[in-house]
């Protein structure tokens, strides 16, 4: 509970949610990031995530702890996939549980936003054309720039 993990295999959503379940919480917000079939006009067939796990886990854990403190969450956790993913697979899952809904929504949003900009994770898209490219998220790039 309250951990950030990297998974090489399909994420078990039921088990993830169960870990965060708590009778003291009246609200639970869960975000799932899915593999989408298109990006910037290209038809996407599958994705490949490269994760530098030693640092992703350490920094991911910090993000979870920040969210818990900042929003007063009772529980929070996230799992990010590595390796090859197919369409509709879950790439990332975030859960935030709290006494009331506002904190759960805000905490969940904070975690996914931070995960996208701070963790050493890279996404390669494989297209129907046969080409493959590392995705360069502009918003993330700007955040990284200001971080530096």
């Amino acid at each position: 509970m309250n951990t950030f993990q990297v998974a090489g295999q399909t994420i078990d959503v039921t088990a993830f949610r169960k870990e965060l379940c708590d009778p003291g919480c009246g609200a639970y917000v869960q975000f799932e990031g899915w593999v989408r079939d298109h990006n910037e006009g290209q038809q996407v067939l599958r994705l490949e995530y490269e994760v530098y796990a030693p640092l992703a886990i350490k920094e991911g854990q910090r993000i979870i702890e920040e969210a818990m403190t900042r929003f007063g969450l009772s529980h929070a956790a996230a799992i990010h996939r590595s390796g090859v993913l197919n369409l509709t697979d879950i790439a990332v899952i975030v859960g935030a549980a709290s006494a009331h809904r506002a904190a759960a929504f805000e905490g969940c949003r904070y975690i996914i936003d931070q995960v996208k900009t701070r963790l050493p994770i890279w996404k390669k898209e494989h297209y129907a054309s046969g080409a493959a490219e590392w995705v360069n998220c502009q918003r993330c790039a700007e955040a990284a720039h200001s971080h530096a």
């Binding site: 990010h80 900009t117 050493p120 360069n136 998220c137 990284a144």
Partner: protein, 79 residues
């Protein structure tokens, strides 16, 4: 001083190597990146990238020490 440099994702593919040991006089991570970009002109600007030193996220202006392992991360794209 001697440092180990590691390249990830697009940087690894651009340089064709995952790591290299360098003798450098670079005072900061940014200066070291500039040196590496001279060796490998295909490396992009570090502006949108992240750097870690000895498995901790670092600022580009962080001073380097002998034996440091410097990780160059191209723009990240989690989620």
């Amino acid at each position: 001083m001697k440092v180990d440099v590691r390249y990830f994702a697009a940087f690894r593919e651009a340089t064709g190597i995952a790591s290299e040991a360098l003798e450098t006089g670079a005072a900061t991570a940014a200066a070291l990146f500039a040196e590496c970009a001279k060796r490998h002109p295909q490396l992009q600007s570090h502006a949108a990238s992240l750097v870690a030193i000895n498995d901790e996220m670092a600022a580009w202006e962080q001073p380097l020490a002998d034996g440091d392992v410097v990780l160059f991360f191209p723009p990240v794209a989690g989620g």
